[in-house]
């Protein structure tokens, strides 16, 4: 086993006809930094890492396309990474 995910607590979110189960608390055991070392008891391949996290403010079916846009007026400059051009935003 190289990963294990446990839901410590789950919540059911209901919105209209939609519903979604999510872990509001979870623990994760992972084997990060893959590699092989030779120890006195044999070969060790995995380095376990334990972490915990939580999710909050989970919402479903609440967004529209305008919620997914960054307002350019929050910036002073626009930098086009592909062309290398930098344009000052008139305000």
């Amino acid at each position: 086993m190289i990963k294990r995910f446990d839901s410590v607590e789950t919540s059911k979110l209901v919105e209209g006809n939609g519903y979604f189960y999510y872990p509001n608390k979870y623990t994760m055991f992972q084997s990060k930094y893959r590699g092989v070392i030779k120890g006195p008891k044999g070969t060790v391949k995995y380095f376990p890492v334990k972490s915990a996290g939580s999710f909050s403010h989970v919402l479903i079916n609440h967004l529209d396309e305008t919620d997914l846009q960054i307002d350019p007026m929050l910036a002073d400059y626009i930098f086009d990474v592909d062309t290398g051009r930098k344009i000052k935003i008139p305000k």
């Binding site: 190289i2 992972q30 006195p40």
Partner: protein, 221 residues
């Protein structure tokens, strides 16, 4: 010399600790006996029913201990196949600071850096090198995806409705785990985004009315 002995002692202790924490291996079961009892259809239908009614998704994820002075909080928004996230660095002694905001819309990536008031625009959906640091509630359903990407609403819907997902459910069995009875599904060829390879997953579903896996384990082949 004394220092060297101490270093060697701690070095051996460290290696021993890693040996003791070595991962468990995938158990073999009588596949022939259980193959006739696979309730794949019920699992697939319940997942599709849940995701079929969702068209937009938003959540925040907290990293580290909220009682710490500094911790990270990520806000993620997703609408169909487009998604957007903001990374916030929150300092409890001062106000919350938006470190950067990223959106992926119309095959274009926009990154706003408030610190220098610059908006970077780039063609294509750039790969987020640190995306594995931002687990989502959808991570529990990562066993459904095989396309080598972080699970999104769209690819969970597509992959579960695909016949190949049905074929990848190798078998199902019942198992008692810490006093609770679980239905365990073994699913083959699950692409793991973090390790960038296909793994075998076992998902444990406790409540038969819910498609939500209480536990999953990933095994290296």
């Amino acid at each position: 010399m004394k220092t060297l002995y101490i270093l060697l002692y701690f070095g051996v202790c460290s290696i021993n600790a890693q040996v003791n924490d070595s991962p468990e291996t995938l158990k073999e079961f009588n596949v022939q006996a259980s193959k006739n009892e696979i309730p794949k259809k019920a699992l697939i239908e319940s997942i599709l029913k849940m995701f079929g009614s969702i068209n937009a998704f938003e959540y925040s994820s907290e990293r580290n201990n909220p009682s710490d002075i500094v911790y990270e909080k990520v806000l993620w928004k997703e609408l169909a196949s487009d998604f957007y996230f903001e990374l916030l660095l929150i300092n409890r002694k001062e106000n919350s600071v938006i470190q950067r905001s990223v959106s992926f819309i119309d095959n274009q990536t926009c990154t706003l850096f408030p610190s220098n008031s610059e908006l970077h625009i780039q063609k294509g959906k750039t790969t987020l090198s640190s995306i594995e640091l931002f687990p989502s509630p959808l991570i529990a359903f990562s066993f459904t995806g095989v396309k080598g990407c972080f699970p999104t609403l769209n690819n969970i819907k597509k992959s579960v409705s695909n016949q190949t997902f049905n074929d990848r459910i190798f078998y199902q069995r019942e198992e008692l785990w810490e006093g609770k009875q679980y239905s365990v599904f073994r699913i083959l060829s699950v692409y793991d985004y973090e390790l960038r390879e296909e793994l075998t997953y076992e998902i444990f579903i406790h409540e038969k009315t819910s498609p939500y896996p209480s536990i999953w384990k990933a095994y290296d082949s």
